[in-house]
Symmetry: C2
DNA sequence: CCCCTGCTTCGACATATGTCAACATAGACG
DNA sequence: CGTCTATGTTGACATATGTCGAAGCAGGGG
């Protein structure tokens, strides 16, 4: 269960890993920043994708093959389609090992989304 | 007239806004949890809405009237339409004061989204 | 009282999206 | 090779979404 690296989420210094955007409260987003960030949020803006994503994220070992997470109430091609969207958005990565394809979460991108949502401390 | 719904995300009693869902990594989302959370992410999944949201979030005093943030490249009715979506998702609140309508961020909902994106420290 | 300004709602439209069945591809294993 | 299993791709289709112009509503001054 132990692991090797500290996730960038907890790093107080600005991370170069996920370049997209500053916190929402810091300044208005430019059109291009908004375009980039919206793509990530849109990827999580579907119930089926969100379930698939949480299935991968919470799976033992931090990765899951498609066969492990296909039971979300839609057909197999649809699962594949959604996984591709999550991958295109940078939220998941995939790797084929033998017969199966394993998906895992891309921590830096998720951490960037989290930082983007940070609000100002005290109002 | 339209299918405007009561906000499902805000508990009228508890301001503490029951965070809809556990962190993504804790366990797989149920269908209903995914439905609820996806609505929030979807609201931020459009570039124009994200710009409007960051405009409000970063505006001096924590609030902005529509006239202050209408310059995002779409028509004024479209701005109003997007603000309504953000409001329906529970991300913004609005208040009319005289001639102008002011929007501000609902911090508890944004915070809940942030918590949802938290990754495990070492997994 | 009437009209002007700020904002929302309506109606219409083009495009994007989610979904499935059918087909295609990639390895594994006889 | 042939075939089986696990995934991905294609094509089609219904629905959702983003957008605009026009019209409606609410307050504030003249």
């Amino acid at each position: 269960m132990s692991n090797t690296k500290v996730l960038p989420l907890l790093d107080p210094a600005g991370q170069a890993a996920a370049p997209c955007c500053p916190p929402l409260t810091e300044r208005p987003f430019s059109a291009q920043e908004a375009e980039t960030a919206a793509r990530m949020f849109k990827a999580l803006g579907d119930p089926v994708r969100l379930r698939l994503f949480s299935l991968v994220a919470s799976y033992e070992g931090g990765e899951a093959c498609v066969c492990d997470i296909s039971d979300v109430g839609v057909s197999q091609p649809t699962v594949s389609h959604h996984l591709k969207k999550l991958k295109d958005a940078g939220l998941l990565t995939s790797e084929r090992r033998g017969t199966w394809v394993y998906y895992r979460v891309e921590p830096s991108v998720v951490a960037a989304m989290g930082r983007l949502l940070a609000l100002r401390p005290a109002a």
